[in-house]
Symmetry: C2
Subunit: 415 residues, 2 copies
C-alpha cells in the first residue's frame, strides 16, 4: 500500500468518531494543539532551519525563503490562529431546514462534516496548521500534501500536533501529512475517489490548474484573480484614486488585488493623468491602451496578453472605455470571476454592474482587496472559491461541511 493510500485510509477510519465529537471536544483539541506548538517552538524552528538551509543550497530567492522562515513570533501567531478558530461557532449539527410532510414524515436537514479533505499547497508551513485547524474544527479528517521545500518544517509540526492530539479525544489519525515530495503523491491524491471527499488546492495558478484538470475527486477551485476596477464618468476622483491605489498596491501579490483599471473616457480626460502620477509614486508600472498612452506618456503599450495576465506584482493595465457596456464586455472576456469593482455616484450604473458582472464578489465603491474571509466577518478562511459549485468567494467554516437528511417516520411506505 502506498503512503497516500495508507494515510488516507487511516484518515477515513476516523470520520465516524470525528462526526460525533462535541464542539467542546474539538475546541479542546485545538487548544492543546496551539499550546504544543508554542511549547515546541524551538524544535520546530530547528526543523525549519533544515528547510531554509536546503533552500539556500538550491538557490531559492530570499523573498521565498522569508515566506518559509519560522521564528518564535511567527509560531506564536500560527498558534493564535488556532485559538481564533476555537471561538468560532461550530456549524456541525446545525439544523438548516425542517420539513413536515402531509404523510407525517418529519425531515431534518443537518450540517455534517464533508469527511476527508485533501489539501494540496505550496511553501508556507503556516498553511499546515491553519488547514488542520479549520478541517478538524468542522469534524473533517484532513490529508495534507505540502510543498517539498517545507517538508522538514511540516513533518515536525505534524509530529508536534500528533503528540498533542494523543492527549485529547480527537483521534490523531484524523491529521495526515504526505511526506513523499514527488509529484506522484499529488497525482495519486487527485484520483483517490472513495477515500477523499474533496480536494482544495492552495497555491499558484499552475498548482491549481493541475488539480482542476487532473482530479477525479471533487475539487473546490480557489485562487486565480484577474480583478478589475471600473471608474465611471461620475466617480469622485479622490475616492476613485484611493480605491484604485488600494486595490493595486496595498498587497499586489494576492488574488484579490487589481490587474486592470477600466476608465470611462470622460473620467480619463479629466482625472487619469493625476491618478497615473499617484501610481507612479507607489512604483506601479503602467501598461495602457493607445488612448491611455496618449494621456500618460510613461505608460507602456498594453498587449492583449497583458489583459489576460495575473501579475501579482506592481504592474497595472489601464484601458479607456466609452461606456459601461464596454467595461462589462472587457470583464466578461478577461475576468476570472473573482472580484470586480465599479466606482460611481450613479446608482443605476452601479446596480447594473452588480447585477450583470458574473463574479464571486462585486463591489460598488470599495476596494476588491476586501474579498477575504476575515474581512467578510467569517473569522477564518480556507480559501477563496472561484468556482460556482458548493461555495463561491471567501470560504469560512460552513464551506467545509455537507448536509444529511434525517427522516423520522412511524412506518410510512410509498404508494
Amino acid at each position: 500500500m502506498s503512503e497516500v493510500v495508507n494515510k488516507a485510509t487511516l484518515a477515513k477510519g476516523t470520520t465516524g468518531v470525528l462526526a460525533s465529537l462535541t464542539t467542546g471536544q474539538k475546541n479542546e483539541a485545538l487548544l492543546v494543539m496551539a499550546a504544543a506548538l508554542r511549547r515546541e517552538a524551538t524544535a520546530i524552528i530547528t526543523a525549519n532551519g533544515e528547510d531554509l538551509e536546503r533552500g539556500r543550497l538550491n538557490g531559492t530567492p530570499e523573498s521565498m525563503l522569508d515566506r518559509l522562515a519560522l521564528n518564535v513570533e511567527r509560531i506564536g501567531s500560527i498558534a493564535d490562529g488556532l485559538q481564533q478558530i476555537v471561538v468560532l461557532p461550530d456549524p456541525i449539527g446545525d439544523t438548516l431546514e425542517t420539513i413536515e410532510r402531509p404523510n407525517g414524515l418529519s425531515i431534518e436537514k443537518i450540517r455534517v462534516p464533508l469527511g476527508v479533505i485533501g489539501i494540496i499547497y505550496e511553501a508556507r508551513p503556516n498553511v499546515t496548521v491553519d488547514a488542520a485547524g479549520l478541517c478538524l474544527k468542522t469534524g473533517n479528517a484532513v490529508v495534507l500534501r505540502g510543498g517539498s521545500s517545507a517538508l522538514s518544517s511540516n513533518r515536525k509540526i505534524v509530529e508536534v500536533l500528533h503528540s498533542a492530539l494523543a492527549e485529547t479525544d480527537m483521534p490523531k489519525d484524523a491529521l495526515q501529512l504526505i511526506e513523499d515530495p514527488t509529484r506522484a503523491s499529488v497525482d495519486e491524491m487527485l484520483k483517490l475517489n472513495g477515500l477523499l471527499d474533496v480536494i482544495i488546492p492552495r497555491g499558484g495558478s499552475s498548482l491549481i490548474q493541475n488539480v482542476v484538470l487532473n482530479a477525479t475527486v471533487p475539487v473546490i477551485e480557489t485562487g486565480a484573480g484577474i480583478c478589475h476596477t471600473y471608474l465611471d464618468s461620475s466617480a469622485i476622483p479622490e475616492m476613485a484614486l484611493n480605491i484604485s491605489i488600494n486595490a493595486k498596491a496595498q498587497r499586489p501579490s494576492v488574488c484579490n488585488s487589481m490587474e486592470t483599471l477600466l476608465v470611462h473616457r470622460d473620467y480619463a480626460s479629466k482625472s487619469l493623468y493625476s491618478l497615473a502620477e499617484a501610481f507612479r509614486e507607489v512604483n506601479v508600472e503602467l501598461r495602457g491602451c493607445p488612448e491611455t498612452v496618449a494621456i500618460v506618456p510613461w505608460a507602456l503599450p498594453a498587449s492583449l496578453e497583458d489583459y489576460a495576465t495575473e501579475y501579482n506584482d506592481y504592474i497595472l493595465n489601464i484601458k479607456i472605455v466609452s461606456s459601461l457596456d464596454e467595461a462589462l464586455a472587457h470583464i466578461a472576456k478577461y475576468g476570472t470571476k473573482h472580484s470586480e469593482c465599479i466606482v460611481t455616484e450613479d446608482q443605476a450604473q452601479a446596480a447594473r454592474f452588480l447585477q450583470e458582472v458574473d463574479a464571486a464578489a462585486v463591489y460598488h465603491n470599495a476596494s476588491t482587496r476586501f474579498t477575504d474571509g476575515f474581512e467578510f466577518g467569517f473569522g477564518a478562511e480556507i480559501g477563496i472559491s472561484t468556482q460556482k459549485l458548493h461555495a463561491r468567494g471567501p470560504m469560512g467554516l460552513p464551506a467545509l461541511t455537507s448536509t444529511k437528511y434525517k427522516i423520522y417516520g412511524t412506518g410510512q411506505v410509498r404508494s
Copy 2:
C-alpha cells in the same frame, strides 16, 4: 468549431440575459413551451416512431422500447411537468445573508444561476423537457446530450421548444441539444471548462462513472444506490414487513430501492421466516448469509459480490447481524451513501443509526423509497446527489443555483 463547442458557446452567450430575466418572463417561457409540446404532439410522436423503429431493428428489448415510447398522454404529462415547475418559487435573486461590517461595508449574499449546465443522460425523452424546464426556470442555459436511441424524439422536441422560445423573452440559444450520437461528443463535454459550469449525469452507473472519472468540469454525481434496511430486535414485525417490502418491491428499478436487508439475530429467529414468505409472494429472489439460508431454505447463498451489487431488480440480500455495530459496519463497507433505514422501537438505537450512518438520507421507521424531490416536497427533482459537495440527496431548484456577494461601500479601502 465542433458541434459541442459551437453550441456550448451559443448557450454561454445567453447567460447574461438569462440571469436578468424576471420570474414572470421565465414562467411565461415555460408555459409557451408546454403549450407547444401539446400542440405538436403528433409531430413528436412521428419522430418518436423513428426511434422505436430503429430500436426494434437493433433488437432493443420491449421494456426499453416502452420507456422510450411517447404517446399523446405521455406528452401531456411531460407538458404538465413544465407547468408544475412554473408554480414553484424562483430561487434566483433571493438574499441568503446580509452582513454589516464595522467599517460600513454592507455585504449581501444573493442566489444567482450556475451559468451553463451540461446534462448527459440516457434513453427517456421526458428528461429532455424536464431538465430544460428546471434549468431555464433557474436562469441557467443548458446543453443536453441525450442517448442516441432517442435522438429523433429529442431533436423534434427541441425543435418544438426552440420555436416556442422564439415567441418569448427567453433566448432560444439557452437550450442546446448535442446531436452527435458518438461518444466523442460526451468526451468533449466533459473537458469543456470555461464553457460549462457543471455537468449532471443522469442514467446508469456506467454512464455516471464515465462522467465522474473523466470530467474536468465540476460534476454533481447522482444515482447509484446500494440501500439497506436494518431491522433491529425491537422492530414491530408488521411495520418491518411493510417497510421492507415497500423498499424492495414497490419499484425495484430505482436508486432508492433496497438491495440488502440487515436483520438483528433476535428479530430473525422470531420473524424472518414470515418476512421471507412475504418476499416470495411478491416474487423477490432472496440471497442470504448462511444463517439466513438456515432459516429460509429457498434463499440462495449470498456472495460478497452480491452485497456490493445494485440489482435494481426483484433480488434481495439478507444478512443476519448480532448488533447495531455490525449493521453499521456493513453499511459503511457496502453502502453508497444514498439512503439507509433502521426499523426499531428503541429511540437510542435510532438516534445512533441516524447520527452515525454517513448517507444523504437516513430513515427511522420509513421506507428508503421516499428519497425523492417530490416526496420531500421540493416540487421538482433534477436528480439525487450521492456526493457531498454542493448538494446532497434530492436536488430541487436551489441545487441549480450558485451565489454572488454584492458589496456596497462608500469608498472603503483595506488597511
